[in-house]
Symmetry: C2
Subunit: 221 residues, 2 copies
DNA sequence: GGCCAATATGAATGACTGTTCAGGGGGCTG
DNA sequence: CAGCCCCCTGAACAGTCATTCATATTGGCC
């Protein structure tokens, strides 16, 4: 038995995309996302990716130094875009920590519903990067977590959040991790054909987040 | 470059375990868990696993039909034990939905803190199983989710839960998924050296779960 | 038309893979 | 002691892989 993810006998029944119109770099990126998401980095071969763009193996190396670098490229680009969007959403949400938290969760969940493939690759295949590259990603993740922690700290200080305590003390980092795990893994099961729209998912998750940290109801205007 | 997860130059600096004392089947299972968790199923070779038990490749096939079957074996055993423990915890928690939910989350989180390696493999490597085997696992996962959903339904009916709504309707399945994602992925970042003990994690997560579904405070005795 | 740089090809390289199997023990029971 | 069964070994098999490179082929510009 050869190492190939089951469930798909031949790689793709060869749609043999006849030389995509996009710039080849973009075509390669897109094909890599799709294939990595579906079958996993280590079993997707360079030949698979290039065939999906209508090229042959060797051509990859005109655009990327290696298969590793291709993975790093697509992961870092989605990760940094995620970080950017989160910061932007929080910055544009006004002063109230409740509004900031809701804005964060809304954008985060919406993105993870919409860009499931990208999120899935970035979260599942990160382990194949070498030490230095993986450290970059983890730093960005920590930065995102710390955005949440700051919102929590602020909310607690102002008395609008009353998060659950462990033995009388707050552990806001653990709560932030719990919230992020919850929101991130939406990309593993959400499908646009399901019961909820992306918008509804975002609202539901924002609501749950506010409950988790014991947010006081917004004052009647 | 060969396909090997980075960060560890040689497989293990060859501890060359000199013929484990346990039954070989158990030694193989344990070695497989450890290696799959650390480096991922497709890049861990049969030779790696067997070397870690002080045996050679061929000996695997005296105990398992294939590398696939080995993975299936270790995943299904942990999955069914998880399902069993969840059911048991809920059954032994009395009648109040709040107590049931808390008991479920406590056992689930505690297990995912304690058996991180097993949980990680069962959750990350499931995709390598063939269609039939993977269906089994998913059925068990759905069963676990439905335990939660039943608790929610009961709690809503009795008026002790007031879960967040989307456009005026409950979607208890989505809430159950969110809760499970949160609790499952504790195994990805929790470490016993951190700020919280397993017990404290369990309490914190149970608290958050009750908040998420809008549980009414327990009546003063 | 002539030229050049960018890009694609596909064979070749050297390595690794899961699995099989003929050949050996080791330690029981009779 | 023989006979037996269980288990292990290590070579062999038929395939896979990422990467390199000499050889085309392009498309734009003078």
């Amino acid at each position: 038995m050869t190492r190939r993810k089951p469930g798909r006998e031949e790689v793709e029944a060869s749609p043999v995309v006849e030389r995509e119109s996009r710039a080849p770099v973009e075509a390669i990126r897109a094909a890599a996302f799709a294939q990595f998401a579906e079958r996993g980095y280590p079993v997707v071969t360079v030949r698979d990716i290039m065939k999906a763009c209508g090229l042959t193996q060797g051509a990859l190396y005109n655009h990327f130094k290696s298969k590793d670098e291709l993975l790093h490229d697509i992961i870092t680009s989605t990760q940094s875009e995620l970080e950017r969007q989160c910061k932007q959403a929080v910055a544009g949400a006004g002063d109230d920590p409740r509004a900031k938290l809701a804005a964060f969760v809304r954008i985060y969940v919406m993105r993870h519903c919409r860009l499931r493939v990208e999120a899935l690759v970035a979260n599942r295949e990160i382990g194949w990067l070498d030490g230095e590259r993986v450290a970059d990603i983890r730093r960005s993740r920590r930065a995102i977590r710390d955005i949440l922690v700051s919102i929590f700290v602020d909310g607690v200080k102002r008395g609008v959040f009353e998060p659950p305590q462990v033995d009388g003390r707050n552990d806001l980092k653990a709560i932030a991790m719990a919230l992020l795990d919850q929101c991130t893994h939406v990309s593993m099961w959400y499908g646009p054909g399901g019961d909820l729209t992306e918008e509804q998912m975002a609202n539901l998750y924002a609501d749950m987040a506010l409950r988790m940290v014991g947010a006081q109801p917004f004052p009647p205007t």
